[in-house]
């Protein structure tokens, strides 16, 4: 008499299965050489670091300009590459499973559709987190090197100017010389400290964190679209449109409040009420302009991101669970 264990009547949701599927998704995407974009990013950052130093916008503003441009380029590139990965990598997840027919094998096993969907999303989220971390580390490294170079140059220029002034005044009393040099040293240290402040490492980390959450949200929206779409092109195009519309939410809000055209107001209202405000995650402009944004407020933005992740994944689940495969 065989004693095969009886299968349970109900298969409960299991995070272990989600994790397994997430890792598989991550490995699969890594095999597709997604990380090759890092080479382009590295070249872009190194190029930007030397390119912007040829722009001399006046002595006072030179270091501010260079650091601002490098930071804008770095964060912009992270955002662009991240958005491309988030949309393209996510859009091909479900169609690839359907095309390879692996989805039938997986869903024939005791696996919930929600587990499958979440596994796919967590895989993409991990890929995005690794990508942003890699790009961010490289970016911070470039800013650090530039910061060191600029502050050292400013320090030496100030000291050399004072030493030149002292050497050119033979009648100057020794104590006055000492005083001039001491003041120059203080000024040079203050100048270097100001450059370190302009580099704003903590602000960069804050901006990267909010960007990562934005990318996760974009990936979740793409997954939601692909849960009912039949073509990958449709998913990519629609995701791109949602991405742009999401950034237009503040403009739509203004338009909704002021417009008198009924059709325009209706469209602005749809954008305003139903799309997540992706512009809320773009904190770099404020931070680099010197507006303080404490971590508590950053957390508020992140919790907004989490809230919309939950909404978008819920919608994706509601659609996907009814889909005929």
């Amino acid at each position: 008499m065989s004693t095969t264990p009886a299968l349970p009547d109900v298969v409960y949701f299991n995070l272990g299965r989600v994790w397994t599927m997430a890792l598989n998704t991550l490995i699969e995407m890594t095999r597709q050489k997604v990380f090759y974009f890092m080479i382009v990013f590295a070249l872009l950052m190194i190029g930007a670091a030397s390119f912007f130093s040829i722009f001399s916008f006046g002595e006072e503003a030179q270091y501010i300009t260079q650091l601002k441009f490098i930071k804008d380029t770095g964060l912009g590139a992270i955002s662009v590459f991240g958005a491309i990965i988030a949309v393209v990598a996510t859009a091909q997840l479900l169609p690839a499973e359907l095309e390879n027919r692996t989805i039938y094998t997986i869903l024939a096993k005791p696996v919930h559709r929600l587990e499958f969907l979440l596994g796919k999303f967590v895989g993409v989220a991990l890929l995005l987190a690794i990508s942003v971390t890699l790009m961010g580390s490289l970016f911070l490294g470039v800013v650090f090197i530039k910061d060191q170079n600029l502050s050292a140059a400013t320090y030496h220029e100030t000291i050399e100017a004072a030493e030149g002034a002292v050497a050119g005044s033979p009648d100057m009393k020794p104590e006055t010389k000492q005083k001039v040099l001491a003041e120059a040293r203080t000024r040079a240290e203050q100048g270097a400290a100001e450059i370190h402040k302009t580099a704003g490492y903590q602000d960069i980390v804050k901006a990267m964190t909010t960007t990562l959450f934005k990318l996760w949200l974009v990936a979740a929206m793409t997954l939601m679209l692909s849960s009912f779409a039949t073509s990958m092109v449709f998913t990519v195009v629609m995701s791109a449109m949602l991405y742009f519309s999401g950034h237009l939410v503040p403009v739509a809000q203004k338009f909704y409040a002021t417009s008198k055209a009924p059709l325009g107001q209706l469209m602005a209202g749809v954008v305003n009420w139903f799309l997540p405000n992706l512009a809320a995650f773009d904190v770099a402009d404020d931070l680099f302009a010197g507006d303080p944004l404490p971590w508590l407020k950053v957390l508020k933005i992140l919790s907004y991101g989490l809230f919309y992740l939950l909404v978008t994944l819920t919608l994706a689940h509601l659609i996907f669970r009814e889909r005929e495969i």
Binding site: G58, D72, F274, Y304, Y308
Partner: protein
């Protein structure tokens, strides 16, 4: 599928209800980011590709690119193109102090100087008119920068320099410098305090004599706050300069001896020799 027709709108509606207060609270945290409107004028100025980048949330990158284009226009003396780029750049990033500062400098100094020395315009009156046009453009831009960043000492200082050097508005320069002193918290404060004093004195001596007392009060307070207490033998050039100005003003305003910071030396009493 029928169940979804109910659930999906419900989720969307619930999300919209939570979204509004959430976003209002985030907007209150960041009052300067109400969203840069992409109106038709801006779109025409930056072109289709840039508009797309702007819609994608790459405001800083678009601004930087236009800034570099403005730099190129400056090198080629294409002043109107340069100004157009500055207008867009400052609209896109109104919180970037660097842009306001450099753009206003280019307009008020470089473009105005080029207009005055335009080799293609033989009429001096026209060149002077054009010079003033660019100076005014620079001033307007800088004042807009101040309106966008009212608490920035650096921009007030730049306005002070512009009014002093380009418009010869001594009292306006003094007032802007005084405002900069109020707002400045860093190491530039010492220099700004003296600059404001010098210009306030220039204003009082050359334009508004009624402000002479204000000038004296300003120097007096500055001396008591920053310079007093140092023995005279340790005074440096700055101490001597400021003290000389205060002494001169005390004489001119006939400040009573007891109220003066630097009382007049008493005439020595000579005792007649005994017979």
């Amino acid at each position: 599928m029928k169940r979804n027709w109910v659930l999906i709108p419900l989720v969307l509606l619930a999300a919209a209800l939570v979204k509004m207060p959430f976003e209002a609270s985030m907007a209150a945290d960041r009052p300067h980011t109400a969203g840069v409107g992409l109106n038709l004028k801006t779109r025409e100025m930056i072109g289709q590709g840039m508009s797309l980048a702007l819609l994608g949330g790459f405001r800083a990158l678009v601004a930087d690119f236009l800034w570099i284009s403005a730099h190129a226009a400056w090198e080629q003396n294409r002043w109107f193109t340069m100004r157009q780029h500055f207008e867009v750049v400052t609209t896109l990033q109104p919180r970037a102090i660097l842009f306001w500062d450099m753009a206003s400098w280019h307009l008020a100094w470089n473009a105005s100087h080029a207009a005055l020395h335009d080799p293609n315009e033989p009429r001096l009156a026209v060149r002077l008119r054009d010079q003033r046009h660019w100076m005014r453009a620079g001033r307007e831009l800088l004042e807009r920068g101040i309106a966008n960043n009212p608490n920035n000492a650096f921009l007030h200082e730049k306005l002070a320099w512009m009014l002093h050097d380009k418009f010869q508005d001594l009292c306006g320069a003094a007032d802007a410098a005084l405002k900069a002193v109020q707002l400045c918290q860093d190491w530039r404060r010492g220099y700004l305090q003296r600059l404001a004093g010098y210009w306030l004195e220039d204003c009082a001596r050359n334009v508004a004599p009624s402000r002479l007392r204000e000038t004296y009060d300003y120097w007096r307070q500055l001396w008591l706050r920053e310079y007093a207490g140092k023995p005279r033998e340790h005074w440096d050039t700055i101490d001597r300069n400021v003290s000389r100005r205060i002494m001169k003003l005390e004489e001119e305003l006939s400040i009573p001896d007891l109220q003066r910071l630097f009382p007049k030396p008493q005439p020595s009493v000579s005792v007649p020799p005994r017979r």
